[in-house]
């Protein structure tokens, strides 16, 4: 079989505007882990091999390279590693379905405040929070990865729209700061 070349949706685009940087992030494999009814214990055994456990609502755990993100009732995304043989849950490859955008810098929270109907300030959204919500009208999973850093997962088909919306918000904030960067 010929060697196929994987291409990301935005070809690794990066842009910095003032203090905020927007960049496409390469996160590796994404696998949906959806528990079968009563399958929690079996799945926990398989995840333990990776040093992970099913995360509680609105959280993610693990470090870069092997993270597990809550995405719904009895459902999580395993990111960064090939999934282990897992019983008690349905595994679905989602790698090509999502684009991950990293937003970092001191004004990142102000940028998202214009797009997301949630309080993303550190006090109510500490590092390790994973929220399913909307980025304007796009469904998104928003991860708080650092004091001034977010990762935003959107459907791959929405990648350029998401980039455009976030970039527009960054542009407005940069203009408001009084200086055109």
């Amino acid at each position: 079989m010929p060697e196929l070349i994987a291409k990301s949706a935005l070809e690794g685009r990066t842009e910095t505007l003032g203090p905020v940087t927007l960049a496409e992030v390469e996160v590796g494999p994404i696998t949906s882990v959806a528990l079968f009814p009563g399958g929690g214990k079996l799945a926990a055994k398989g995840l333990k091999a990776l040093g992970l456990a099913m995360p509680g609502p609105n959280t993610f755990t693990g470090k870069k390279g092997a993270r597990i993100v809550w995405t719904g009732r009895d459902q999580a995304f395993l990111i960064g590693v090939e999934p282990p043989a897992l019983e008690g849950a349905a595994l679905t490859d989602q790698t090509d379905g999502w684009t991950v955008l990293g937003l970092s810098g001191a004004g990142a929270v102000d940028v998202l405040a214009r797009l997301v109907p949630l309080d993303l300030r550190l006090a109510s959204c500490p590092v390790g929070t994973a929220l399913r919500s909307q980025l304007n009208h796009m469904n998104a999973v928003i991860l708080r990865t650092g004091d001034h850093a977010f990762e935003i997962m959107v459907f791959r088909s929405m990648a350029r729209s998401a980039w455009h919306e976030i970039h527009a918000a960054m542009d407005m904030l940069a203009a408001r700061a009084g200086t055109k960067f």
Binding site: P57, G72, R73, S133, Q134
Partner: protein, 87 residues
């Protein structure tokens, strides 16, 4: 209007989709008389006061929610998951 999703927490109205009265949770069984189906499909109360209806958290955890609210005061007194609900 804000709903407190049992999983996601307090969220804005725009994340939810309204389905209808909670009557949809009581589907008539097989062989039920036509009158029961008529009731299930068409007959709804229109209370001035407490009512229960179904909402879908489409931009969040994708769960169906049973919301208890007051049509007069707009107070929302309860939100529970339809999944795992005990009759």
């Amino acid at each position: 209007m804000r709903l407190t999703c049992p999983l996601c927490g307090e969220r804005d109205r725009r994340e939810f989709y309204y389905y209808g009265a909670e009557d949809y949770l009581r589907r008539p069984g097989e062989g039920a008389p036509l009158a029961d189906w008529d009731d299930y499909l068409h007959l709804r109360d229109n209370p001035a006061g407490v009512t229960k209806d179904l909402w879908y958290h489409e931009a969040g955890c994708a769960q169906w929610l049973l919301v208890t609210r007051n049509t007069v005061t707009h107070e929302i007194s309860g939100v529970e998951l339809v999944a795992g609900r005990k009759e």
